[in-house]
């Protein structure tokens, strides 16, 4: 039987209460929401926090809304709610694409968006999706609120900029005219990605005015492919350029060989997935803007 080590358990009744508890119990305390990463780690004794602060009652963090043309996703929003949100699906289909292949429906009932980002697993799908669309993380502490671009949120595997005493409360994505998509290769239903890629693009006068490319499980710094984005932005959205962007992304990422495949295979997937996901995003863009179809 896998049993976590002993810990103190506190249930937060509000964000302020959670922050008070985080201050009181310090660096050895951990926030728990869905718990579908933290509790398994505690069962394996890979994590042994002295105190758990349960934020499951903080309904104010479980909402999806639009405020001043910004999509606001509470940290406690469950995967299943992000997947089924018509609001999210309308503006950023990349999230529904990603959620459909995150774990399984029962796990998605419990796991949360904020928990996924704070876990900072290199194979986590939402990290790449939020990096692709240039989302922002809203982090609160007793001292106030700060906003960090998701592209600067991750310090390394399983490490983020969230400090002791701080709580990730919301993810924000500015709503703009764009199209997005996410594609993943997995060994079997519900598994972590062998590799995955997300893309967001916006065209103006036949030229890519904005390009975002997220990479999952490929060792890309902060889950995105900046060299491929720089190559694409400012030029047309052609098949040839998408294929070249894939090759650039494959060259600049840093996948590691593991039980899911050797490095060369993962680089091959990086090139192929980036190419394909850009095409899916372009098809969606053309569907939204039939009058100025991009080739």
């Amino acid at each position: 039987m896998q049993v976590p080590a002993q810990f103190r358990y506190e249930k937060a009744s509000s964000v302020e209460h959670a922050l008070t508890l985080l201050d009181r119990f310090g660096a050895e305390s951990r926030v728990v929401a869905g718990g579908h990463s933290l509790i398994p780690m505690m069962k394996l004794r890979l994590a042994q926090p002295e105190a758990l602060i349960d934020i499951n009652d903080l309904d104010e963090l479980a909402t999806i809304s639009v405020e001043q043309s910004t999509l606001c996703i509470g940290a406690l929003v469950r995967h299943t709610d992000l997947l089924s949100s018509a609001l999210v699906g309308e503006h950023f289909p990349i999230f529904a694409d990603a959620e459909r292949v995150i774990a399984d429906p029962v796990v998605r009932n419990r796991g949360t968006v904020g928990g996924s980002l704070c876990q900072a697993d290199p194979s986590e799908d939402l990290s790449a999706a939020f990096a692709a669309v240039r989302g922002e993380a809203v982090i609160q502490s007793a001292d106030g609120v700060r906003t960090v671009p998701v592209r600067e949120f991750f310090v390394g595997p399983y490490q983020t900029v969230v400090e002791p005493g701080e709580l990730l409360v919301q993810l924000r994505v500015p709503i703009r005219s764009s199209a997005s998509a996410y594609l993943k290769v997995e060994r079997r239903a519900g598994d972590w990605a062998v590799a995955a890629a997300g893309a967001e693009l916006r065209l103006a006068d036949g030229v890519l005015a904005e390009t975002g490319i997220g990479l999952t499980a490929l060792g890309a710094p902060n889950f995105h492919a900046s060299e491929a984005e720089d190559f694409l932005t400012g030029g047309p959205a052609t098949d040839e350029r998408f294929a070249e962007a894939g090759r650039i992304a494959a060259r600049h990422c840093n996948p590691i060989a593991d039980q899911r495949g050797p490095e060369a295979y993962k680089r091959h997937l990086a090139a192929t997935l980036v190419d394909r996901v850009l095409r899916v995003a372009r098809t969606r863009w053309n569907g939204l803007h039939p009058e100025e179809e991009a080739r």
Partner: protein
């Protein structure tokens, strides 16, 4: 640390004093003696421990019992009603939906939730719904048939009830 919790399971409120590290699946089985909920992989992969927490299916090996304090839990023991077995249970009987039976409680709880939210699930809907649950006997074909049987049976009962109501109005 020891905590007193009150969890309502299948409509009955149970108060127990537990360690916060106790998992919900062990709380149900060892503290309450409700061994219908099975304890399988212990890694949230197999899904035999699925119960409803506030009307949502969750893997109870990855939920702390203290998280269920003040909340509602429904287990496989709560499926049977005054009229007898739940239609999903009847479906598993009628379509040979179990062999060793180890995965069955989780399959039943997920199937019940699916039909409640999607009364006419396609085969694809059913396979997606149980995609986080493993049958070591690999009896998936019959599990899918069993869930379809339950959905069709319930649809038939609804239709029959409407017809009867219609007849009464005419009479």
């Amino acid at each position: 640390m020891i905590m007193e919790v009150t969890v309502t399971v299948n409509g009955h409120a149970y108060t127990r004093t537990i360690e916060p590290r106790l998992l919900l699946t062990h709380f149900l089985r060892d503290e309450l003696g409700l061994t219908g909920t099975h304890w399988g992989c212990d890694t949230s992969n197999c899904g035999t421990c699925v119960v409803w927490l506030d009307d949502v299916p969750v893997k109870s090996c990855t939920v702390l019992a203290v998280m269920a304090d003040g909340r509602q839990v429904r287990t496989v023991e709560g499926l049977e009603g005054a009229d007898g077995l739940d239609p999903v249970q009847q479906g598993f009987v009628a379509c040979h939906g179990l062999q060793c039976g180890f995965c069955t409680p989780g399959m039943l709880m997920t199937a019940r939730w699916l039909i409640d939210h999607n009364p006419a699930p396609s085969e694809g809907d059913i396979r997606e719904a149980i995609s986080g649950q493993l049958c070591r006997c690999t009896g998936y074909e019959n599990i899918v048939r069993s869930v379809r049987w339950a959905a069709e049976h319930e649809a038939g009962v609804r239709e029959h009830t409407v017809e009867e109501a219609g007849t009464e109005v005419q009479a």
